[in-house]
């Protein structure tokens, strides 16, 4: 589990053909995109879902976004990816939107109280 299996990443990009790639594999515009990708890869490794299932949910999120006016230029790809990730963990009963919201707010609070330059860490006091 400590090392990435290149074959696993390749299977992901083959099964989800829309992933932005260069000749060697996935590329990311911002660090959080790579984090969202890594989270998904980890959950797949755990057997939480199969790639076709993931591709269907991601495709659905992209369609919904386009219907709502997303320009679909590729720049927003990982926003849809993130929405799909939040949805699949809820559908699989791992967590729910309310819990994610609670942690979102807690991290926001943690960031606010953390002086710049210190690691941002979640503390019980952040859940108010």
């Amino acid at each position: 589990m400590s090392k990435i299996d290149p074959a696993a990443a390749r299977r992901a990009t083959e099964s989800v053909p829309s992933i932005p790639c260069d000749a060697e594999g996935p590329v990311f515009r911002e660090p959080w995109e790579a984090q969202a990708f890594a989270l998904t890869l980890s959950l797949y490794d755990r057997g939480l879902f199969q790639w076709p299932e993931w591709a269907a949910i991601l495709g659905d999120e992209i369609k919904k976004a386009q219907a709502a006016g997303d320009p679909d230029t590729g720049e927003t790809y990982y926003r849809h990816w993130l929405a799909a990730l939040e949805r699949i963990v809820a559908e699989k009963g791992v967590t729910d939107a309310g819990t994610l919201r609670k942690y979102f707010d807690a991290w926001d609070h943690a960031a606010d109280r953390t002086p710049h330059g210190m690691p941002i860490e979640l503390k019980p006091e952040d859940f108010r």
Partner: protein, 218 residues
């Protein structure tokens, strides 16, 4: 500008605003924490995946910026005055952090940047920070013993060269403009960009010299 100057004796950060995470960063952190607490993911495994893609994140255009500054005096002047604006003027670059400051290495002064966590590293121009850059030993030693850190990286500077350490703040990120290597007169911007290493823009390295690139395929 004076408010952004942090020399190596200066340990304070700009504490006025706390830290900031974007909406997407918060959502990713929320997911990561919940999934870790529930035992679905192992943070070490996540780090390993992200490290595997370290070179695939962000546009990494810093070397082009440096090469342009070496060949175009007007651009260099603009870069040192307002790096954010100068980099934006290059067109093909995607967005750069709010306040990017370029610090110029000269024979009198060597600059080194230190930052604490990912949010204040100019990844838009430098790609993802190397692991050592985020490590506590680098962060504290860079401030206390910059020459020692440079020695570890194999750089011995003349005794009378001042070493200046720039500590990034939430508002300001730095990029080092290294000195143009000797023997590159008349080189094209493109060829020069190949000499510019990531570490040379952090200040923990020097650009390659022409002899070092001759051995490369290019």
């Amino acid at each position: 500008m004076a408010g952004h100057d942090h020399d190596h004796d200066h340990h304070d950060h700009d504490h006025e605003h706390g830290s900031e995470l974007s909406e997407t960063q918060l959502r990713v952190r929320a997911l990561e924490t919940v999934l870790t607490e529930k035992g679905y993911i192992d943070p070490a495994a996540l780090d390993a995946i992200i490290e595997a893609y370290e070179t695939k994140i962000g546009p990494r255009n810093g070397s082009v910026v440096v090469a342009r500054a070496w060949t175009d005096p007007a651009f260099k002047k603009a870069l040192l005055e307002d790096a954010t604006k100068a980099v934006a003027s290059m067109g093909h670059m995607s967005r750069v952090g709010d306040h990017l400051v370029a610090v110029e290495n000269t024979s009198q002064r060597h600059n080194m940047i230190v930052c604490t966590l990912c949010s204040c590293y100019p990844w838009e121009v430098l790609g993802l920070p190397p692991v050592w850059y985020k490590s506590a030993p680098y962060r504290s030693r860079a401030v206390k013993d910059p020459r020692g850190v440079l020695n570890d990286f194999g750089i011995a500077l003349p005794k009378d060269t001042e070493v200046r350490v720039w500590d990034s703040t939430a508002e300001t990120r730095f990029i080092v403009l290294p000195m143009r290597p000797a023997g590159t007169e008349g080189w094209s911007e493109e060829k020069l960009a190949d000499l510019v290493t990531r570490d040379s823009m952090i200040g923990t390295g020097l650009p390659l010299n022409p002899a070092q690139t001759d051995s490369k395929v290019k």
